[in-house]
């Protein structure tokens, strides 16, 4: 059995074929279930996306005469396009609707092949994004952690590519897979020192879903002159001004400007076309939302109570909830961790952001899950399996307790808000904080860093354990393909 598994994981084409087949089977099964059962496989979100795409590629709808015409309407009239925000609850960038153009009836009629194929285009795209993210994760592991192909594939396969949860989410038509590939590509581009590409991906990611902005400080902090393969200028003990000057490197400036420009241009174009609707639904909604339907956040029950309360006064933790959240995910974790291990730092940042967020649903877990294959191989959770199992067990148990109360509330109509749901969400929060503490501890004692040497310039935190340490030059030219010279036996064996 063990032999069979190791044979399986030593063949990337086999693992990716199985990952592909898993998604293909789920997709076809979903089509069957949708056609034959009133209970749908397809996620509601997918209907929102495809409706939004249909609205986008239809003539603009005119507002009721007594309402305020938006200047953006004129631009849409000129182009003859509608707005995705005509679909209620569409809370994403119009780019997503553009990507789903083939699902619109007009498009699928003009495209070759069966219509049902094009109607599932979004799911195919999201599933393909999963596979691409998996591909990039393997590349990051092999290069960044200098891990052997089969080992890298084993982690990425088990946690991401062959994880039924990940495959189900994307084939049901949830767009989180796109975020996964964007974030994986961002990390990959940074590690490959492709600064411009990283800037574009960062700007795009933030435009898509806001939260990737937390990665900006970590990447900037990581990207020091030494790391970027250039010798340190000036004296290390010089004054504050010199230090500042030293901090502002070409790469850091490039990354900042490119990401801001990407973000700015995208927002400008979208604002021109969709006006206030775009701002409201893509960004402001997440700040001002008042739908406090039960979710995993520790603040959930408190927010429900506060939203209905008339009186004010006293300390309100919910109004400063962003302080611990942003302090951890944007300032402290990147500061302490980014130079040690960028991937693990990004995991910890995302974990902190989701744990301390005012809203938390299970699709948010996918945001950090994409980093797990990069962190787990050298973590204390795998080094000490009992600790790892305890962490996983507590995470699952706290969630299950919450789900039990949620089920009783939602379907049986029992008032389980207090203590049930509330305690469960607080317990889940504490479990998450504990796990976050473990991840952070690992930043300081990461075994991958054992042979790290700070003298050799461009070398990553993780320096090859194997004999042939590539030079900075070689790293830049490092070919991104499977037939890596590191283990040529891998593909054949």
């Amino acid at each position: 059995m063990a032999n069979l598994l190791s044979t399986f994981f030593s063949s990337p084409s086999l693992v990716f074929t199985v990952a592909f087949l898993l998604r293909a089977v789920l997709l076809v099964y979903g089509l069957w279930q949708d056609a034959n059962s009133p209970l749908k496989y397809t996620d509601i979100d997918y209907l929102v996306f495809t409706d939004a795409a249909r609205f986008t590629f239809s003539p603009p709808s005119l507002p009721s005469p007594d309402c305020c015409p938006d200047p953006s309407l004129l631009n849409r009239l000129l182009l003859g396009i509608g707005s995705p925000y005509d679909r209620e609850t569409y809370r994403y960038t119009p780019l997503l609707a553009y990507l789903l153009w083939p699902t619109t009836p007009a498009a699928s009629a003009s495209l070759p092949g069966p219509r049902v194929l094009w109607a599932s285009w979004g799911k195919i795209l999201f599933a393909a994004a999963d596979l691409a993210a998996g591909y990039l994760l393997v590349a990051v592991l092999r290069r960044g952690r200098n891990m052997s192909g089969p080992r890298a594939l084993r982690y990425v396969g088990a946690i991401w590519l062959l994880n039924p949860m990940v495959a189900t989410i994307s084939t049901r038509g949830s767009s989180e897979g796109l975020l996964g590939v964007l974030v994986a590509a961002l990390l990959w581009a940074v590690l490959k020192r492709r600064v411009v590409l990283a800037g574009i991906l960062l700007g795009l990611g933030v435009h898509f879903k806001i939260y990737p902005f937390i990665y900006a400080p970590a990447i900037v902090w990581w990207m020091d002159a030494e790391r970027m393969g250039r010798p340190r200028r000036g004296n290390i003990n010089s004054g504050a001004f010199d230090k500042l000057l030293h901090f502002v490197t070409r790469e850091r400036l490039t990354l900042t400007l490119v990401s801001l420009a990407t973000f700015g241009v995208l927002n400008y174009v979208m604002y021109t076309l969709y006006g206030h609707d775009f701002l409201q639904h893509t960004f402001l909604h997440h700040v001002t939302r008042i739908d406090h339907r039960h979710n995993f956040s520790p603040y959930n029950v408190l927010l429900y109570l506060a939203s209905a309360a008339q009186q004010s006064g006293g300390f309100k933790i919910e109004s400063v909830a962003f302080v611990p959240q942003l302090l951890l995910s944007v300032v402290l974790i990147p500061l302490v961790g980014a130079k040690k291990d960028l991937a693990a730092t990004m995991l910890a940042q995302t974990f902190a952001f989701v744990t301390f967020n005012k809203v938390c649903t299970s699709q948010y877990f996918l945001w950090y899950m994409v980093f797990l294959p990069l962190y787990l191989p050298n973590s204390s959770l795998t080094r000490r399996p009992r600790l790892g199992l305890a962490a996983l067990g507590l995470w699952v148990v706290a969630q299950a307790a919450w789900l039990q109360h949620g089920y009783e509330l939602e379907f049986l109509g029992r008032s389980t808000f207090v203590p049930g749901l509330w305690w469960a969400s607080l317990a889940f929060f504490l479990v998450n904080c504990w796990i976050l503490g473990l991840i952070i501890s690992d930043l300081g004692t990461n075994s991958t860093a054992t042979s790290s040497t700070t003298t050799s310039g461009a070398k990553e935190v993780v320096v090859p354990l194997s004999s042939s340490a590539p030079s900075a030059e070689a790293e830049y030219e490092w070919g991104f393909d499977w037939a890596d010279e590191h283990d040529t036996t891998w593909l054949t064996g």
Partner: protein, 500 residues
């Protein structure tokens, strides 16, 4: 002011015409089992000043109240509405006046009971204006199930303190099955109509000298060549003060609303949870017209506590599994997420076509309407109750080509659903039947809410727990920082050696 009182009875409940006595401006007779309708027609100048002011700013205003107590409607009064207070309103096109009328309409509505209306702009929903011109622009509904509040106010306002007859007449309105107020700028008069369902009614009407009173005592009649869309009646008419005895009469008129001759009941499936299913139980699914296209419809009026998701009601497979054909209309907008306590709009109305079986079954037929509850404000005890009025269930049938429906003396227009159908549609109404054990046409449910009794510590404990979690993470960060700084991690062995 003019007043028309009509009694409508079954043939077998007829009384001897000789027992009717007309003396001066009074008509009296024995107790009769009948439906009674009182209609007052008033000029604008006969109205209170505040109402005159409001009507000057209105193009159309229909206020329709229906009792939650089931009643038997016979004769021409077959049209049904969900129990509660319905308002259909079109403001004057002049937008400057809108602002002024905003508050006044809601102010007026508050006289009718506990009405949670801030202004037509915020609280009313828009009716489609692209279909048929006879629908009003705005709609409002409030579950007001009792007219006591209004009657007490009206008695104070209208009746002189010594006028016992006036008080008695108004008190009777508390028992009315429906009360309608209608005004439009074309007729320029106000019609107020009260209806009492089939029950024992005393035949004793007197007319004050100030206005004309007409009394009709009618019963169904089937003359030859009566069309399916017509109603035939026969009976006695008396104009008090003019006639010395009742005059016999017989006439037919077209009616868009008829009795389907069957009934339905409605309830929630249990457990209701946060997603209750409203089940309609229809006794007989035999279409009322043999050779005409008929479809069974339900107009569901949903206070803002509860709503239907139009996107969920798009899939034919899903609809089919609930015995529904299609969602024909839903008022806009319907927020799919907002909690109840932050909303201004009254709620929503939903028109569904039901998928009746081709072959008739003995058990009747059920259709399920999936609904969703909003979050309610926290309460002591952790539970909040809500009520949804029975829907209006009717067959909509296409009348023959060329059929015209000139206004009938009894038909109501602007009921919320008539404007959603073509002008040649006939409505055959099903009688709502209260569920056994209940005597009201309201489906009640309980919604779980946050229990205020257990909520005192939420703020403190949440703050403490978040603080502990945050402190723990900070502590871990600090440990890492103390050991390795913010730079590249030191090898484990090296660190340990240093310690030694």
């Amino acid at each position: 002011m003019r007043k028309r009182t009509t009694f409508f009875h079954h043939n077998e409940d007829a009384i001897d015409p000789a027992s009717l006595k007309v003396s001066g401006r009074t008509l009296s007779g024995p107790i009769i089992k009948a439906v009674r309708e009182d209609r007052f027609t008033l000029g604008l100048d006969e109205l209170p000043a505040e109402l005159q002011e409001l009507l000057r700013l209105s193009q159309e205003l229909y206020i329709r109240w229906t009792s939650p107590v089931p009643y038997q409607a016979i004769g021409p009064w077959s049209s049904r509405l969900s129990p509660g207070l319905h308002v259909f309103f079109t403001p004057q096109a002049d937008t400057g006046a809108n602002v002024a009328s905003d508050d006044e309409l809601c102010l007026l509505l508050r006289r009718l009971g506990p009405v949670d209306c801030s202004s037509p702009q915020k609280s009313f929903s828009r009716l489609p204006n692209d279909r048929f011109s006879h629908a009003t622009a705005l709609e409002y509904y409030q579950p007001v199930y009792d007219l006591t509040h209004f009657v007490d106010y009206a008695v104070q306002y209208v009746c002189a303190s010594s006028d016992a007859e006036c008080k008695t007449r108004f008190d009777a309105v508390k028992q009315a099955s429906s009360l309608d107020f209608s005004y439009d700028t074309i007729s320029h008069v106000v019609k107020v109509t009260a209806l009492w369902g089939r029950q024992d009614q005393s035949l004793s009407i007197s007319a004050p000298a100030s206005h004309r009173v007409e009394v009709g005592l009618l019963t169904p009649n089937q003359p030859p060549h009566l069309e399916e869309y017509e109603i035939g009646v026969t009976g006695l008419l008396t104009v008090l003060g003019e006639d010395s005895k009742p005059a016999p009469t017989m006439f037919t008129f077209p009616s868009r609303h008829k009795h389907a001759g069957t009934g339905f009941s409605s309830s929630f499936l249990t457990p209701t949870g946060l997603h209750p299913t409203m089940q309609l139980n229809i006794k007989s699914t035999r279409p009322p017209m043999e050779d005409s296209a008929c479809a069974l419809h339900a107009l569901v009026t949903l206070p803002r506590t509860i709503f239907a998701d139009k996107y969920q009601l798009e899939d034919p497979l899903f609809l089919g599994s609930k015995n529904l054909t299609a969602l024909r209309y839903i008022s806009q907008p319907v927020d799919l997420e907002a909690p109840d306590y932050v909303m201004d709009i009254w709620g929503s109305s939903v028109l569904l076509e039901l998928n009746t079986p081709v072959t008739e079954t003995k058990e009747g037929f059920t259709a399920d309407i999936p609904l969703h509850l909003r979050y309610q404000a926290p309460q002591h005890g952790g539970e909040s109750t809500y009520g949804v009025p029975y829907p209006a269930v009717f067959w909509a049938c296409a009348a023959e080509e060329g059929t015209k429906f000139p206004s009938s003396p009894f038909d109501r227009i602007n009921l919320g659903y008539d404007g959603l159908f073509g002008p040649r549609t006939l409505f055959w109404h099903l009688d709502p039947i209260a569920k056994s054990g209940g005597d009201r046409l309201i489906i009640e449910g309980k919604v779980p809410v946050l229990d205020l009794d257990k909520s005192r510590s939420i703020n403190t404990v949440t703050s403490i727990v978040v603080g502990i979690g945050f402190a723990w993470v900070i502590y871990k960060l600090l440990m890492v920082y103390m050991r390795t700084g913010y730079g590249v991690a030191q090898p484990v062995e090296a660190t340990e050696k240093k310690k030694q």
